[in-house]
Amino acid sequence: MYRIHILMAMDSHTIAQGSREVKEALIRDLALAGISDEVKIVETGSLGISNKGVVLVVFPDDVYYVNVTTNDIPDIISEHLIKGRIVERLHYKKAAVGKGGEKKDERLGKQVRVVLKNAGIIDPQSIEEYIAEDGYEALGHAVTEMTPEQVREEVKKSGLQGRGGAFFPAGIKWDFAAGTEADQKYIICNADEGEPGTFKDRLILEGDPHSIIEGMALAGYAVGATKGYVYIRGEYRMSIEHVQIAIDSARENGLLGQGIFASDFDFDLEIREGAGAYICGEETALIESIEGRRGEPRDKPPFPPAEGLWGKPTVVNNVETLANIPQIILKGAKWYRNFGTEKSPGTKVFTMVGNINNPGLIEVPMGITLREIIYNIGGGIPNGKGFLLAQMGGTTGGILIEEHLDLPMTVETLRGIGAGLGSGALLVVDDSQCPVDLVKNFVEFFNHESCGKCTLCREGTGRLHELLSRLTSGRGEEKDIELVQVLSATMMRGAFCGLGQAAPVPILGCLRYFKDVFIRHASEHVCAANKCEMEAVAETIAA
């Protein structure tokens, strides 16, 4: 028996901060202290704490240590593990993780863990630990005791909406694919998370890869598909590694393959690596990429549930959507509806970035307010600065300002103000930043990532970048603002896919709320925040 379990967050962030070295030191020093056989070291996914270096938790005491270096290990061992005295200088008092979906841990603030229930709790490379936390129970229950219709019905009743950003009802998408006759159908997990500032899918894949496999197998059973692909962006090395380990051990245990749980349901999975193109997050471009072609979106309709991969009915679901599925099947739609609102049930995983004290990964019920996220869970804005704006949903997300802080965040309410929850990135911007400079940077990204298929997006993003660059360099005129507006509106109506249609969203948002700032840039060539280099003006003065 190991009397102590030390959970070490081994995600890309903490590895970059030296968690592997700390683990080596821990193994070495435990041996020196002669207590190796009393302490189990468990590698786990993100513990939801970012920017705090190497993070570990000591169980059963449930004590979190942050910013741990190899030099701290002797103290942790001699003080805490042997004498039971907490090493205060490393102690992180506001623990960010609690266990158990339905339990609301007060330390979490208003966080609830459904999707992230295992992240930071189990060893993601151990199928046993996933099984210990009810893993594969839903799959076993479904294939032996439920019909595919019943599975779809439960997902429909839960009201689960696609968590990739479009919020299309997952159960209805499944119905379309189930209703199409075909000799072969496919399930694809969209893990091509390319939205800047979004890293929730990566942390789910790294921290709880089996939940995706189980979710995909359940989707396969529900629609009659026997084959699945996990499309993971190539830069996510650790996600790819963990998912591959999970697929292998699921196969070894008969949880993938033929005749799962002695039923006549066959299902197997493969990983496909993306090559880093933003556009491949769009589901039809992703399908093209799996087929071995250049990642460009297809004409719609037909939609993938009718005609997808290799012309066969295909369900493409986001990582977070799939991670919800086992919980819904195991605990029921009614349980799931305990979280969130009537029209937006469940939870949402967010990655909080930007000018915020506690950046990182959180899971909150739908309908929470921005104020609660930023000031309660996020710990507020650093350095005593004020709130300027928040961008919800990644680079294509809508802009939210002070007056929206108390708006319950649901799909409907955000849609009402021209925003959306999107991919779940929440960028917080303080009042020392310049909104014009901000959107110029966004559009630079879109210009780089436009796939070039349609003129409006290819040229439009380029011209927008040009116009905004004029404004931020002191060469702009007021008519440039008007041009930005017209071009944006045209792209939103006419671009071929979501990229070009959504690229202008933050620009129009900033224009709506900060028009005076844009005008000052154009007419007076002044950037009050002093972020834009008004070089043209400087040249004029010099001349």
Partner: protein, 120 residues
């Protein structure tokens, strides 16, 4: 794995391995490991408890450590916590008595009255 029963058997086994991370085990055994405790032999007491728990394959019990309880003359001290019950503190524990605590108190659910230093 072929059936749900197989899965559940695997689950039980895996859960047992994860006991230390469970917040709701039935018993919590705490060994006082202040300087006084260690000097009086608390390390050997701890090892004996862990060994006995392993031998008997006991689930639902965690073992942890604490600092000086303020009764240095009674060291090594071992406390047994159980929900909604008084905390039993045993004093002057030897590795042999420690093994008996596991066998009689944890398994047999009977307090070793003669070794109790306090109950509160």
């Amino acid at each position: 794995m072929k059936t749900l029963a197989d899965l559940r058997a695997m689950k039980e086994k895996a859960k047992r391995e994860m006991t230390a991370r469970d917040e709701n085990t039935k018993y919590r055994i705490v060994v006082a490991m202040g300087t006084c405790g260690i000097a009086a032999g608390a390390r050997n007491v701890m090892s004996a408890i862990l060994d006995e728990i392993n031998k008997r394959d006991i689930a639902d019990t965690i073992v942890t450590q604490t600092g000086c309880l303020g009764y240095c003359d009674q060291e090594p001290l071992v406390q047994v916590f159980q929900q909604n019950k008084k905390v039993v503190t045993y004093g002057k524990i030897t590795p042999e008595i420690a093994r008996r605590i596991v066998a009689e108190h944890i398994v047999g659910e009977k307090i070793l009255t003669e070794q109790v230093f306090m109950q509160n």
